[in-house]
Each structure stands twice: as C-alpha cells, then as structure tokens.
Amino acid sequence: MADLRAVEDRTQIRAAGGFLGPLARAQYAAMVRMRCRMFVIGLRTIRGILELGANGIQLMVFSVIGIGLGLGLGFTSYSLAHHGAWQYLPIEFWVVLFVWQMIPITMASFQDQFDMSGLLRFPLSFGSFYVLYLIFGLLDVSTIMGAMCCLGILIGIVTAHHELLPWTLLALLEFAAFNILLARAILAWVDRWLSQRRTREIVSALFLLFFVSLQLLNPAVREDRSRDFMNREKRAELRHKREVALSPALDKVKAAQVWLPPGITAGVLQHASENKPVVAVGVLAGLGLYALGIGGVLGIRLRAEFRGENLGEAPNQTKQETREQRWLLDGGGPIAATIEKELRTLFRSMPQIYALGVPVLMVFVVGSLFRNGPSLGRPPFQYALPVCVAYGLLGFTRIIYNNLGTEGTGIQLIFMSPTPIRAVILAKNLFHGSLYLLMALFSGIMACLRVGVPSPTLLAITVAWLIFALPANLAVGDIMSLTMAYRVNPGRVTRQPGSQGNALLSMLIQTLLLGVGGAVVAMCTFADKMWLAAPILVACGGIAILLWTRVLANVDAMANDRRDTLIETLAKIG
C-alpha cells in the first residue's frame, strides 16, 4: 500500500484511475493479501482448523445439492428445448431465482462475513468500495448453487441446440449478475430497515401481510378441503372448474412474468431459437437494464454506508418521552437481572426476533401441506404436530448454541463481577427455555389450527419429546457456547462474523435429537405400542436433565478454563 500515501482526497483518488486504476488495483491486492494472511493465521488454532473443516463439509453438502438441482434443471431444459416447449422455460429460471435469493436470507446469520465499514478509513473510491462489497463473499453457498443451476441449464439447452451456445451463455451470465446484485441488495436493505424502529415496524407489518395474503390465496389455488371423501369424477370436475376459474388470473400472471428477469432470460433463448436475433438482443438489453437497475438500488445503499452512515437509533431517541424506566423483573439477585437484560436485548434486536418467529410463521403457512390427505382419500398427516413443533424450534439454534455471543465486551463484566458464571448461564437457560416452550406452544396451536387436534397419545409423545429435547439442547448449547463462542452483533442480519463449526454441529445435534424422537416412535409403532413412546422419551428427558445439571455444575470451571479465549473472541480487544 506504499502508493497510497500520495493520495489525499477523493479528487486525487479519481485521478488515480477510478475503481480499475493503479491505486484501486493496489488496494484490491492488499485486501486479497490481508484476507489470505487472516485465513492462514486462522489455521494456527484448533478452532480455525475446525472452522475450515466445517466450511468444507458445508461446501460439499451444498455442492451435492447444487449438482442435483443442476442435473434436474439440465435434463428439464434439454427436454423443453428439444421439444420446442420454450413457454415453460421461465419456470426453471423462477426456480433458480428462488434458490439464489432464499439461501442468503436463511443462511445470513451463519455465514462468516466481512464488515466493510472498517475500510472507510482508507482512501478508497466508491467504485472500489462497491467492487469489494461484491467480491467479498462471492463464493458463498447461494452463488455456488445458483451457478450450478445455470450450468445445468446451459448444458441442457446447448445439448439440444448447439447453435444457441452464445445466446444461452450471454443470457445466463446476465441472469447470474442480476441474481448476485439482487441478493446483495436485499441483504443490504434488510440490514438498513431492521436497524431502525420505524422502518422495522413497517417491514414487520409488510412481512405479516405477505404471509396472511398467502393464506388468503390458499383456498383459491387449492382443492376443496371438505373432509368428505369424493369420488374420482367429482374431484376431476372440481379441478376443471377451478382451472377455468383461475385461467384468466394465470393468463395475467403469464403475461406479466414475461417482463420480469426470469421471463426475459427465457425470452432471449426463445427468440434466438426462432431466428429473431434483433429481438433477442433487445430482450437481452432489457435483462441488462434490470441488472443495472438493481445494481443502482444496491449502489444507493452502499453510497450511504460509504458516507459513514450511522445505523443506530440515536436520531429517534430525542423524540421519545423520558418516562421513568421500571424493573421488568422484580426478583432480587443476578438471575433476575440477567433475564431482564436478555429480555431487553432481545426486544431491541429485530433480526433475533425474526430468527425466533419465522419458523412459527412458516408452520402456519406450510401447515396446510399436511392437510392434503382428504383429497387423496387419506386422513391428514398424523405427525404434523411433532414435526411443526420441532421445526418451530429451529429458530433457537443460534441463541441456545451461542448464548454468550451477544455479550460483546460485556463478557468482561461477567468475569469481573462476584456472580458465579453458573448463575448467568442458568438465567440464560431459563430465559431461552421459557421462550422455547412458548414458541413450541405457538407452533403446536398453529399446527392444530391448520391440521386438526392430534390424538392424545401423539400429544403426549410431543410433550415427552420436548421434555427430552429442551434440557438436551440447553446442555449441549451451554458446552458449545463456552467452547465455540462467536461474536454476534444483535442489530445486524449480515456482515458479521459467524462460525461454520458451531452452525454445523448445532444442526447435527438438532437432527440427532429429532432422530432419537423419530426412532423411539418408529420402534413403538412397529411393536404396536405407540403409547410406550411417551414414557421412553420422558425417561430420555430424565437423562437429559441430569446431563444439563452436570453441565451447569461445571460451567464455572469450563468458563474459567476458556476465559482468555472467550474474552478475546467476544470482546475483540487487546
């Protein structure tokens, strides 16, 4: 970075050649070197090696899924191109778009991301800042999977029509660029919206409205839900009626989607296959405009960050009344104090509330899938309740398995104060456990509302599984919180450090706990004594509670053994 000292202001930065000039290139090289050094230095610790291993496993798993998706899309596109059924090609691109955009949102909290604000002190041009924002994290799961899907489509179409190679390549490259920019823009704006109260409330309202709208759409697009069994003819007649009723709406959707990126991408290929190169170029330009537009939307956000925008709540506070604050929990002692602190911190962290609440909402939304029994002449899926309850608890993975992550420098206070760390961890466990049960209750109610009340045996089994899963999760969560902690900024969704190792292990444990429950139920069902599953799971719960108390008893020793690493990791000082 020796060239940098001559540069004093933004004018000189521009004079130095913009985002592709010698200065920018020197900066990119310095950043790459810095990241490489950080990677190598990270490997000096066991945690670093574990993280690398976890990254490798994650990459492998998603690559396999991506290859599967790519193969499926490849065969489909070959078939569509071969038979000239271009009108169905947009469906493939909508699938790719969905995969590309959903993965970053669902995995944002587990990804180890680079915070760009640290770069602002350097003489960096906005162009370079933008380029670096796009480059860092480019090789993430969504891009890899999206790229594999696109590769599959490319191979499929080109195998059917060799002459379409340049068109397919160009269209897919533009579509990929659009997706990358869109994913980044969504995350950047979500971070912005969730950081301030007013916008947070608007986003929450829109979010809820979206899910409620989905529910209102449900009756229109699904078959009659009457519990009466219908004969084949009556069902076919109903289906026909529905298709006729929905036909105008579907035609409108079809006409509209032609103007959207997946439709446009498919349009390029269709026009190219019909030997209309001028039209194809025009449509390709339209796709380019979409990419540019979304790049501009991302640019607006990044420009604000580049100017040193503060995403804090400060400006809103002056308008608020200065009413006296009360204690939320009146109980004496550090346990009540810690629970109150956790409660306040949680209520001020919209990303955390979303993480906890979204699985429950999803239970409400997708619960209807379990109701497809009657139309097929079968009763509803009987295990809907335990599945929904278990799924509703996924949102807790992060806070239970990294329960010190949001402490920041406050971890020093925990070690300095005369309160045993056991009391702090117990308070966190009680708080998270209560929330866990509350969410399980909500998930259960949602599932019952959507699918119907299950048999008392199944209800007992679900409760017994919770008695087993809750303390088991807390016990393992406490151990992992002390041994694999990572710092979390509760106010942000993206661009903060994560731990692939912690994420992978916690998911593994969750799967194991679900597996134990499933295996017990399966064995008892096989023995025709399903009722036996509940007492067995309660017995497992007894063991889990014993394990949890043992862990709690050893928390102080474990924390003190890991004190240096915990403070260094969470407080990031010295």
């Binding site: 400060a314 604050q325 204690w327 550090p334 420098t409 300095m416 309160t419 000082i573 010295g574």
Partner: protein, 265 residues
C-alpha cells in the same frame, strides 16, 4: 503494620513463545493512588487483566486485600471495581439499564441500585441521555459510563485502564475530583494511563513496566531522586518532570533526528 491492598509475587504471563509479563512483584498499600506506567506493549493491560481476573496468570500469585485472588474468589470480587480496556459495556442497554444491571450483579438491593444509578448519571452528566443505547454513545460517554459501572457498588480497590482516554477536559476534572475523594475515604486506586501529567498530579506511588518487566517502583520522589543521581548535571539544578523520569527509565530520552520520518510534511 501497613495493610496491603494489592500484592503480586512473580506474576508472569506467557502467550506461546512470547512472555508479555515476567516476574512482576509489587505491593500497593491501602489508600494509595498508584500509577502503573509503561510504553505501548509493555504489559500494562495484561497485568491489570491478571489483577482483575480477566486473564489467568501463567505463573506467580495475586493477593487483593490480603487474600489470594483467583477467578472463583467471588467475595473478593465484590470489593473491587474495574474499568478494563474494553470497558465491559453492554451496547444494547441504555445507561440506566446498564448501571442497574451492574448493581444487581454486584448484589446491591433495589433501592440502593436505583438511588446510586440516578446519582451517578447526574454526576457523569449522562442523565440527559437516559434513553439512548450505550452503543450510540460517544467514546468519552462510554468511558464515563464504564467508570460509573465500576464504582456503583462502592469498591475498596479500583482498577482503571486508561480511564481518561477520550474524556473531555471538564469531565476529566470532575472524575479526578471523584477519584481523589475516594482516596480520602480510604479506597485504593490502581491506574494505568499514558497521560503522565495526570499521574504526576494524582498518584503518590508509581511503578514502570518495560518489555514485560518491572523496571521502577516507588514514590515519585524516590524515582526522581534515583534518576537525578544517574543523570549528570540534573542534581540540584531543577525538579525533573515525571515524563523525564519515565523517558529516562525506559531508555527513550535520546531520540536522534535521524530516527525521524523525514518524508512527513
């Protein structure tokens, strides 16, 4: 016999092959305002972390108020207050919430916590910012809040790591008065700072650490006399400042012009 507030024997901390603090033995009497000085990277913060239970020593012992200090010495922790390097703040709480949380963690009852919180917020001039999250505070305000949190339980021994960094002159004057008041009431203060004028004005005793080793320890007058006797021409001519004493002891008093960065404008 003079009672000791802080005593260390052969305190050592190693980070792999690096020895950050080596064989530090010092004593701080009760009621003393003690300055702990050293250049950057000398081992000041590492020492203070070991003295407050934030870092485990690789060797040696620490005694606070005559009792061995370990991470599990909870009753002893009740007697000490700390403003560590990272300030130990909780960014998502407001200042009153943070102080109440700290007070409860130190076992104070509700009324005492509420009363002291209000007094400290008024004293630190933070009462007008009671709805603002700590994360949105300026660095100086965070320092003041960290200091308020360190004293809310009325500690007998107070450890301060760079408490005046980023604090404005008015607030610094106020804080100094508060700390002097604590000393008068019998508290012991262990202070690290790079602002030598503050140490010279406040502290009665000073220790200097350099490259992990204690190179000087005693009253400022003793150090002054020792340095004066070793520097030709200074004896009896004028009173050496603490800065001159410090630079002389750490061997940085004779920077040659050649060492300057000539390319700087």
């Amino acid at each position: 016999m003079e009672s000791m507030a802080i005593q260390t024997h052969g305190l050592t901390r190693r980070f792999g092959a690096l020895t950050a603090v080596e064989d530090v033995t010092l004593s701080v009497s009760s009621g003393q305002f003690f300055g702990f000085l050293g250049p950057n990277g000398a081992g000041k913060s590492t020492t203070i972390k070991m003295l407050t239970g934030l870092l485990e020593p690789s060797g040696g012992t620490v005694e606070i108020l005559g009792q061995p200090f370990t991470a599990g010495a909870l009753e002893l922790k009740r007697q000490i207050g700390v403003v560590p390097e990272g300030m130990a703040l909780l960014g998502r709480l407001t200042a009153p919430e943070y102080l109440r949380f700290v007070g409860r963690m130190y076992g104070l009852d509700r009324d005492t916590v509420n009363q002291r919180t209000e007094e400290l917020l008024e004293f630190m001039k933070l009462a007008g910012e009671r709805r603002k999250l700590v994360t949105d505070f300026s660095h100086g305000m965070q320092k003041k809040l960290a200091l308020a949190g360190a004293v809310i339980h009325g500690p007998k021994v107070l450890f301060l790591d760079e408490p005046f960094e980023g604090v404005d002159a008015v607030a610094a004057g106020m804080l100094k008065a508060m700390l002097q008041g604590m000393i008068q009431r019998g508290a012991t203060i262990f202070l690290t700072t790079h602002v030598l004028e503050i140490v010279e004005r406040l502290c009665s005793h000073v220790a200097i650490i350099h490259q992990g080793r204690l190179v000087a320890n005693g009253s400022i007058e003793d150090l002054r006399a020792g340095v004066a006797s070793s520097l030709p021409g200074t004896e009896g001519s004028r009173k050496l400042t603490l800065e001159e004493i410090f630079l002389s002891i750490v061997g940085a008093s004779n920077l040659e012009p050649a060492q300057e960065l000539s390319w700087l404008t």
